[in-house]
């Protein structure tokens, strides 16, 4: 059995082993193995290639960009996705614009430990994929499975563009698989996580599992819900989403991030614009509430979508 977190570690080990251009840089990622142990033992196995950084997110990303321009393949670990706001400028203005401005690729991977867990509060729980996806020049990965955590991280390192890798902290220990994959869907390709015919849930990251649980619940009521795991939110696989909506006629987009804008807005906009005639009912969306992420589990459990609130939304959707 291997966890989602271990898969991330193994992907990094693989990348370091296969490619001398790869190095890892971040706070406490060296001997200590990272705040979440995502780089545990890697500094020991790859001396000099897993480097502790000062608490300098801007310089962390900036230096990774420079190294990438000189032919390296850096992986930057943010200690929490939330702290990437202070490295934001280098990501969106330096890394993301480099290829378009100069023709020189900027292959960096920025790992963002993302998403809510009970008790983490406003500054250790954020989902920032929509911020980065808004900017041209970035690839946004949001793996929902152990297999994808592994395969997509390897792919992220191989991709010539800057990749923002949103790994979900709630899945770190909760999610287990038997083994690591040998092949995987590529970036830009969504996955039908569960087939159904009555409605489609389009989602990603930890919300895939809440949605699957909601689908289970609705199955007991006789409904067959299809669940699409987007895998990458930029590029976004509109074809797979539309093909599903063509089968079901109904769509609910679910995201853990805040409600204004973001992935669910983008999904609804695309479905409405490109699949209007496939719809038998108004499309719906479900996000977290429009407040900071609360600390207390009671509040947190209500703030973000859950299997139960997704099931409730689906019941509304199915009735409409």
């Amino acid at each position: 059995m291997i966890t989602y977190l271990e898969a991330i570690r193994e992907a990094q080990r693989q990348a370091l082993e296969n490619d001398p251009r790869v190095y890892i840089y971040g706070q406490d990622v060296g001997a200590f193995g990272g705040a979440f142990k995502a780089t545990k033992s890697l500094a020991q196995s790859f001396p000099g290639r897993v480097l502790d950084s000062p608490i300098s997110e801007d310089a962390m990303v900036g230096s990774a960009i420079g190294a990438a321009l000189q032919g390296m393949r850096p992986i930057v670990e943010m200690q929490f996705a939330d702290f990437s706001t202070v490295g934001f400028n280098q990501i969106v203005n330096q890394a993301a614009t480099m290829f378009w401005r100069t023709g020189l690729p900027c292959p960096i991977t920025v790992r963002l430990p993302s998403g809510g867990t009970p008790g983490s509060g406003p500054f250790h729980s954020q989902n920032l994929e929509a911020l980065y996806a808004h900017y041209p020049g970035l690839i946004l990965m949001t793996p929902a499975t152990v297999e994808d955590a592994y395969a997509m991280l390897l792919e992220a390192v191989a991709i010539d563009d800057p990749v923002i890798f949103c790994e979900h902290k709630y899945l770190y220990y909760h999610l287990k698989a038997d083994s690591l994959p040998k092949e995987a869907l590529p970036a830009g390709k969504a996955r039908v996580a569960r087939a159904g015919r009555d409605a489609t849930v389009v989602t990603y990251s930890a919300m895939v599992h809440e949605s699957l649980a909601a689908a289970d619940e609705l199955a007991t009521e006789g409904w067959e819900i299809e669940v699409i795991d987007l895998r990458t939110i930029k590029p976004l696989d509109t074809d797979t989403v539309l093909a599903s909506v063509a089968r079901t006629g109904r769509v609910l987009a679910v995201g853990e991030a805040w409600p204004w804008g973001g992935v669910t807005a983008e999904i609804l906009a695309r479905v409405a614009a490109e699949g209007f005639n496939l719809l038998d009912a108004p499309p719906m969306r479900l996000n977290s509430k429009d407040t900071p992420v609360p600390y207390h589990p009671n509040l947190w459990g209500t703030h973000r979508p859950t299997a139960r609130s997704i099931a409730d939304s689906l019941r509304v959707l199915l009735r409409s």
């Binding site: 706070q27 406490d28 060296g30 001997a31 200590f32 705040a35 502790d52 950084s53 000062p54 608490i55 300098s56 801007d58 929490f80 939330d82 702290f83 706001t85 202070v86 009970p118 008790g119 983490s120 509060g121 406003p122 500054f123 250790h124 509430k289 429009d290 407040t291 900071p292 609360p294 600390y295 207390h296 589990p297 009671n298 509040l299 459990g301 209500t302 703030h303």
Partner: protein, 352 residues
């Protein structure tokens, strides 16, 4: 609230000499209370009663308490994760600590934020956001406001670890304070590690106090394990700031005598440091000092310990009885201007 620990304003150190032994005893008792309170929370954490992280100030009480005690009503305090002692000395209720750690609805953060992320900005106590360095410029702004408002002779203190000196926010805000000649006291506790990261991976200067000259601010170094030194140095720096001498940068050296958080066994802390003077427990040092100076005897220390314990037990017991937040009753509104919540009818704007 805790009357026996409520000190009259007049007893706080003024801009004259520190009044030993009284001040020292008071400081010690805040340190002790902080230590006892944090140990209680740590044991609740080990018992699975605390949700989220627990971050202790073990080994940092002396510098923290000195900061909290040097401040007075109207001043600003932006503590960080290891400032339980300073918070208490500044006037934070012990209940704010226990209610927040226990996630009670009745705590100052109402379960919306937890553990060290608490404060009462109206009372000058800023609730830290996690992003290191980010509170310093907020203190600057409060001091700028005081200047606009002709609120005189106030100061603001912000605490950071040495790791936070690597942030852009540290730099911009210290420079800003220097340009504005604000009465900012920036206390850097150099406990040799930022989480697991040793100083040689964090900065390359010989001594962090050497940064002061590059900002044009006054620099002070102090042994963070020595309460007397902390009281004098911080007291002096606060007086200087109050007297209009501009920002004061204080570097206190010590060792973190705990994990980064209670989840961390701190195995990476070098034995070497533990044997140095900076590896001492400031609480032991203070206790020995008082005994040596005959400012207290063993029975007195024992009474203070038991007083602290009963205060903490009481606060915890009270807090455990307090209800958790109820999501159904929660006001899910991030805006102060309710009329701008979507769904509420907008009001016409009259301009004048």
């Amino acid at each position: 609230m805790h009357d026996m620990f409520r000190l009259a304003e007049a007893h706080r150190p003024s801009c004259t000499a520190v009044e030993f032994p009284e001040t020292y005893r008071r400081a010690y008792r805040w340190m002790l209370l902080a230590r006892v309170a944090e140990e209680k929370i740590a044991s609740l954490f080990r018992g699975g009663r605390i949700i989220g992280g627990v971050f202790l100030g073990r080994g940092q009480e002396a510098i923290s308490v000195a900061t909290g005690m040097a401040l007075r009503d109207g001043d600003i305090f932006a503590p960080l994760i290891r400032d339980q002692a300073g918070r208490l000395a500044f006037g934070e209720s012990l209940l704010d600590f226990t209610l927040t750690y226990l996630g009670a609805r009745s705590g100052p953060m109402r379960g919306r934020d937890g553990n060290v992320h608490r404060g009462r900005p109206k009372e000058g106590l800023l609730p830290m956001i996690s992003h290191l360095g980010a509170m310093v410029s907020v203190v600057n702004g409060m001091l700028m406001a005081h200047r606009f408002q002709k609120k005189e002779n106030t100061v603001g203190a912000a605490c950071l670890g040495e790791g936070a000196t690597s942030t852009g926010a540290f730099h911009e805000s210290l420079n800003q304070a220097a340009v504005e000649k604000l009465p900012l006291i920036l206390v850097i506790t150099n406990n040799q590690y930022a989480y697991s990261t040793p100083n040689h991976r964090q900065f390359a200067c010989n001594d962090l106090v050497d940064k002061a000259i590059g900002y044009g601010v006054k620099g002070h170094s102090v042994d963070g394990t020595d309460l007397s030194a902390c009281l004098e140095t911080i007291g002096g720096a606060v007086c200087a700031a109050r007297d209009g001498e501009g920002p004061q940068l204080i570097i206190a050296s010590n060792l973190r005598l705990a994990g980064h958080g209670e989840h961390d066994d701190a195995h990476y802390i070098s034995q070497h440091f533990k044997e140095l003077q900076l590896g001492r427990d400031c609480l032991d040092v203070a206790q020995n000092h008082m005994l040596a100076q005959k400012w207290a005897d063993a029975s007195m220390l024992d009474i203070w310990l038991r007083d602290s314990q009963s205060l903490v037990e009481e606060a915890v017991a009270h807090s455990l009885r307090e209800p958790a937040p109820d999501p159904a009753k929660e006001d899910w509104c991030a805006l102060a201007s309710r009329h701008l919540l979507e769904g509420n009818p907008p009001q016409p704007t009259h301009l004048n």
